[in-house]
């Protein structure tokens, strides 16, 4: 609408987008060139491809199917703590994967709580390793996401429809067919595609709960090609395959999910007259809450005991993780803010595109590419930490931009004309208007970025030598050495650090937001 002038500069954002695109596309090119020199696919590679797809399909189907009754219950019941519960459904997004896995092992593992109960009545213990363990962990992470997405669609049904249906005397079943089923038909493909895409690139879950010839994902196979065989050509070939898969899935996810399901207000409970059985709704809410909170409670309980006997490596790793998270967040903001401003000022094309490139490439694929690029000129393990911080920042971009771009757009459209008519220059607009107006979103995005980086167990596993570790990697190593007590303590520390980093950065962002 605004003619020629804009109150914000677009070139820093275009520059940042160019850097991101160069990094991602450059590493992909390195992967592709290297992959050509390798041999063809072996049976192990095909089985990795098959397992990757199967577990992602199952994870998506279970997450979405279980989310429907939970979302329905949350949509039509009002109870104390409902709002807190819905907010907490967002928490797994920043929960370190390795922490959740330790919690799941405590609850569902061979020596876990449920196995203990089963043992009392003479039943054999649960087996969590393999396909069902991987799917269980993925459902743990994605059931909350699916619930939030579906709940949001539920709440967007105008209250008038329910009023009309109630006035016509529709019972629960009729109302479901008439109003809710069409909504689900519209939203479910997007939910399934998003979760499918997320589960394709899951590395830490497969690393800890999968493994072996029958439960190896492509990401895990890339890692193994690195660490066991140091076969860069094979790692590159697998990366190319993984890339093709994720690009296809990301395109499908973008195509099916037009709407943004993140961080929206979910506080309206629509008044319903069809009642239904409160017991059934209560069951679903209770079951979902237990499924999500029991593993966290397990981490808390077992971690408290281990918190005071942490080896010195854990503390050193914790310090490393804090450092990496700080650097990563700074890099993230340096890239994301100019990009968000550029998109808000009308430079969509290249900037938005390179913002979502991170969705197409997985951390391990980028890590492989960087390794191939760095290997000839330097020892990659000396660059393990900078590379981890950088990759984490780029991986946080798609989420960060989803938070920052709408806010930046709003500020530019609401205040841009006034700034222009006052002849305000771009620097003044930036410091006097843009930054203060966007503070809540900037803090929120920075908090997410810091927490994601703190909990990340991905590219660091490729680059690190035994002397160096972030806290998630250190926990994995402790688990591998069967030091479960120390691992539990470290996991609690990591949980506190991740949530603490998020809280510290995000705090005040919303509460002291100036109106």
């Amino acid at each position: 609408m605004v003619g020629r002038a804009q109150p914000v500069s677009t070139w820093p954002g275009v520059g940042a987008a160019g850097l991101v695109a160069a990094l991602i596309l450059g590493t992909l090119a390195a992967v592709a060139l290297r992959a050509e020199t390798a041999g063809g696919f072996g049976p192990a590679d095909w089985s990795a491809l098959r397992f990757t797809s199967v577990q992602a399909v199952l994870s998506a189907v279970f997450s979405a199917a279980l989310a429907i009754p939970v979302a329905r219950a949350l949509a039509r019941r009002r109870f104390r703590g409902r709002r807190v519960l819905i907010t907490l459904l967002g928490a797994p997004f920043i929960l370190p994967v390795i922490v959740a896995i330790l919690g799941l092992l405590q609850v569902f593992g061979r020596a876990g709580w449920i196995s203990d109960v089963l043992g009392l009545v003479g039943l054999p213990p649960l087996r969590i390793y393999g396909l069902h363990g991987v799917v269980l962990a993925h459902v743990f992470f994605n059931l909350p996401l699916a619930t939030r997405l579906i709940l949001q669609a539920w709440q967007e049904i105008p209250a008038e429809r329910f009023r009309l249906a109630a006035q016509l005397g529709c019972d629960g079943g009729t109302m479901f067919r008439l109003i809710e089923l069409p909504m689900l038909r519209r939203i479910l493909p997007g939910v399934l595609a998003v979760i499918f895409a997320i589960c394709l690139t899951s590395f830490a879950v497969a690393l800890t709960l999968g493994g072996g010839p029958r439960a190896t994902t492509l990401e895990l196979a890339i890692y193994q090609a690195f660490t066991y065989d140091f076969d860069l050509g094979r790692a590159a070939l697998l990366s190319a395959l993984q890339l093709a898969l994720t690009v296809a899935a990301a395109l499908a996810a973008l195509r099916f999910s037009q709407r943004d399901g993140f961080g929206a207000g979910l506080d309206r409970a629509i008044r319903r007259w069809d009642g239904g059985a409160p017991v059934r709704d209560a069951f679903w809410i209770f079951a979902a809450a237990a499924f999500l909170f029991l593993p966290l409670a397990a981490v808390l309980i077992s971690g408290l005991a281990g918190l005071f006997e942490m080896p010195i490596q854990v503390l050193r790793a914790a310090l490393t993780s804090v450092l990496v998270a700080c650097v990563s967040t700074v890099v993230f903001l340096t890239l994301a803010l100019p990009m968000a401003f550029a998109v808000a000022a009308g430079r969509y094309g290249i900037v938005e595109l390179s913002g979502i490139l991170g969705l197409a490439a997985s951390p391990l694929v980028i890590g492989t590419g960087l390794f191939i690029l760095i290997h000839p000129v330097a020892n990659p393990s000396t660059l393990a930490l900078p590379v981890t911080a950088l990759v984490n920042a780029v991986m946080a971009l798609p989420f960060g931009l989803r938070i920052l771009v709408p806010a930046a757009r709003e500020v530019v459209t609401r205040h841009g004309r006034l700034a222009l008519s006052l002849d305000m220059n771009k620097k003044t607009f930036f410091t006097l208007v843009l930054l203060p107006r966007m503070r809540p979103q900037i803090r929120f995005a920075a908090g997410l970025s810091a927490a994601l980086s703190m909990g990340d167990l991905g590219v660091i596993a490729l680059f690190a030598d035994p002397q160096i570790a972030t806290l998630p990697l250190q926990i994995y190593r402790l688990m591998g050495a069967y030091q479960m007590q120390a691992a539990a303590g470290a996991a609690l520390l990591l949980l506190l650090l991740s949530m603490g980093a998020f809280w510290l950065l995000d705090r005040g962002g919303r509460h002291h937001a100036e109106t």
Binding site: V2, G3, H415, S421, D423, M424, N425, T428
Partner: protein
């Protein structure tokens, strides 16, 4: 003198022609059916819309190639005339210096402007702590310190009640008389136009007509205006 020389403004599929001049110091209303292009016209003069044809001059100087902030124009929009996170004083200061950093003399000027719009002592408040009428006064105080030769009003008082709106218009008229500023004011209400303007530009059927005496126009409205007035 403001001169629109054979101008065409495009807004989507809609286009507006304008070819007229306004004398320096005049107060002119812009009326017409909604959707006829009143805001489009005023935005083109302010520099928020590009001309597809023609040129705009102020006192013989070409201004249509200048960016909005470089034109001799102060503008009040329908809403969003104040930055909500800045204090009243900071908002007014932006009219003097677009970076908001003032010398002692300039600070005194801000206080004078506050006095002039009867808001002395409220300089430290945020816009949300003021009533709608007070917010309009702050915006007018900023217009005052901007010292631009042409003031464009795109219905900034539309959300105020009738009495308050009349009060604001009288305040505007008083400020104009003091400073010799030229006024162009979009209006829906013949009463507003009669209150502070001598001339009126009728915008109808893709055309901005030259200014005509306000009272003549409303006493003997042409057919397009008659339909609108009902």
């Amino acid at each position: 003198m403001l001169k629109l020389d054979n101008c065409v403004v495009q807004n989507g599929s809609f286009s507006l022609q304008a070819d007229f001049s306004v004398e320096t110091g005049a107060s002119v209303a812009i009326v017409g059916p909604s959707g006829a292009g009143k805001s489009t016209l005023i935005e083109a003069i302010a520099g928020f819309r590009d001309l597809t044809r023609g040129q705009i001059f102020w006192d013989g100087e070409l201004i249509s190639n200048l960016s909005p902030g470089k034109r001799p124009v102060a503008m009040l929009f329908q809403d969003g005339n104040l930055f909500p996170h800045l204090t009243v004083e900071q908002n007014i200061a932006l009219g003097l210096r677009p970076n908001g950093r003032l010398s002692t003399e300039e600070q005194a000027e801000v206080q004078n402007a506050l006095d002039r719009v009867s808001l002395s002592g409220l300089g430290g408040r945020k816009p949300a702590e003021l009533s709608g009428g007070q917010q309009s006064r702050v915006a007018l105080a900023r217009v005052l310190v901007q010292r631009r030769q042409l003031l464009l009003l795109d219905e900034p008082f539309a959300a105020l009640g009738p009495a308050l709106k009349a009060e604001m218009l009288d305040l505007v008229a008083g400020l104009l008389a003091e400073t010799g500023t030229t006024l162009l004011m979009v209006s829906h209400d013949p009463q507003d136009a009669r209150r502070i303007t001598q001339e009126t530009i009728l915008v109808a059927e893709n055309h901005a007509h030259p200014p005509a005496p306000t009272s003549d126009l409303f006493d003997n409205p042409p057919p397009s205006l008659r339909d609108y007035l009902g």
